[in-house]
């Protein structure tokens, strides 16, 4: 069943049961996000897709569309808040784009471009989180993790369904951990998929890197905005 909702003062037709973030994308309204993957269960961890729904700020990936819903996406105050959320992520970890292999394919970087971030107003923390290289085919650059939990929820052992990644500790001491035994059972394709699923340069494939030169990388060729509006899943 279809009904109309209002996004940025424009009436649009949406399908029942659809998530607000997908409904907006289908109607040409881009909402940046870092933890949501189209077609996969919602995580609601990053809050970067925050919009105003019927006057209250909420994450667009967590809201199923309802008839008559009034949504503000690009209203300046909400847009500024999303920008601040992204800027906070940049100061919380070590996001050294010039030295990162993921640069140009990194969703955090692409989202920062979309929200027109130039510098983070927050003090940079420069956390020290040790790199993990025990797995045969995966590097874990822990200081780049934004704790979106995509890998925790969506990358699992095929036989047992057991999680391979987990977050250890809380607050400033939190860090991403990997089950080396289960990770070593992953096929090269699954390792590649896990690295692609990571929205930052935290999960990296060993033995490959800098495949595409600058100008030909994923988001150089086609922006994140265009990819999302065209319904690409990752």
């Amino acid at each position: 069943m279809s009904f109309t909702i209002t996004i940025d003062k424009r009436k649009v037709l949406v399908d029942e049961g659809c998530t607000l973030i997908d409904a907006a994308a289908d109607n040409g309204v881009f909402i940046p996000n870092l933890c949501y993957t189209r077609g996969k269960p919602c995580l609601g961890t990053c809050r970067v897709c925050s919009v105003r729904v019927n006057g209250k700020v909420t994450a667009a990936c967590t809201v199923p569309v309802q008839p008559g819903m009034v949504v503000d996406v690009n209203e300046p105050e909400v847009a500024e808040m999303r920008k601040l959320l992204v800027e906070a992520l940049f100061s919380e970890g070590n996001h050294n784009c010039p030295s990162c292999e993921k640069s140009g394919r990194c969703e955090l970087q692409a989202v920062a471009y979309e929200v027109e971030m130039t510098a983070s107003p927050f003090p940079y923390r420069f956390p020290k989180r040790e790199r993990e290289d025990a797995a045969d085919h995966i590097f874990l650059e822990r200081d780049r993790c934004i704790f979106c939990q995509r890998c925790v929820e969506h990358v699992r052992d095929e036989e047992t369904g057991q999680a391979i990644f987990a977050i250890h500790g809380r607050g400033t001491k939190a860090r991403i951990e990997i089950d080396v035994g289960l990770a070593n059972k992953l096929t090269p394709e699954q390792v590649h998929a896990a690295a692609e699923l990571c929205p930052v340069g935290c999960i990296l494939e060993k033995g490959v890197g800098f495949e595409d030169p600058m100008g030909s990388r994923k988001f150089d060729v086609k922006s994140l905005r265009r990819r999302m509006l065209e319904g690409e899943t990752s």
């Binding site: 100061s91 050294n96 640069s103 920062a112 471009y113 130039t118 510098a119 922006s223 905005r225």
Partner: protein
């Protein structure tokens, strides 16, 4: 040694007697928008990016006059100017002095490049601490002359290192930032041209680059 303690008979290069400028040339220069650039703890790559605007730079020079910069080798900003471009982060007390001099004399101060914005490559020392870095470079260095005692360079004329490398906006108020390592020449040109034309600062996604 501070500037005040320099003996009176010492003449700085910017105080050297010079032939007076042709009055018309001086008038033409003063009519243009005055710009200054500097690199603090950076690699001068952002300044090179400004040169990388190629022929657009010729058009730009019709509208702006570059005062203090590496291109002109002028050491002090003469009076109040419109725009200052800062490259590099803050890593020693000389950087702080220069940055404050720029803030005092520039109406608009722009941080250019990753080092000015968040510390960049030099700020990788923040994860290890200053002492560990100096120890690695001068005491435990494999290339240190074995016959001499290990010495960490220290002299009143050598700027004191700050414990951490800081983004420039953590030291003075910064008006705008141009990301990139280095920023693209066309992005630098766009920002300056926008400001000169009264369009204000904007960094649309297709101009924004962090690497």
């Amino acid at each position: 040694m501070t500037l005040d303690s320099v003996p009176k008979e010492v003449i700085f290069s910017h105080d050297m007697p010079a032939k007076a400028l042709d009055p018309e040339l001086r008038k033409a220069r003063e009519a243009k928008v005055q710009i200054a650039t500097i690199s603090l703890c950076g690699c001068w790559g952002c300044n090179l990016s400004l040169l990388d605007t190629d022929e657009a730079l010729v058009d730009l020079l019709d509208k702006v006059h570059i005062t203090r910069s590496s291109f002109t080798d002028i050491k002090r900003i003469p009076g109040q100017i419109a725009v200052g471009l800062i490259e590099g982060g803050v890593a020693n007390d000389e950087n702080i002095e220069t940055l404050e001099h720029f803030r005092e004399h520039c109406d608009i101060l722009i941080a250019t490049g990753a080092c000015a914005i968040w510390g960049g490559v030099p700020s990788m020392r923040n994860m290890h601490g200053l002492e560990a870095c100096l120890r690695e470079a001068y005491v435990d260095s494999p290339t240190r002359p074995v016959q001499s005692a290990p010495v960490v360079p220290h002299h009143p004329d050598i700027p004191k290192l700050t414990k951490k490398v800081y983004p420039v906006h953590e030291v003075v108020q910064i008006d705008y930032s141009i990301p990139g390592c280095p920023p693209d020449g066309r992005t630098m040109f766009k920002v300056i041209d926008d400001l000169l034309s009264g369009r204000g600062f904007s960094m649309p996604p297709d101009f924004n680059r962090f690497d």
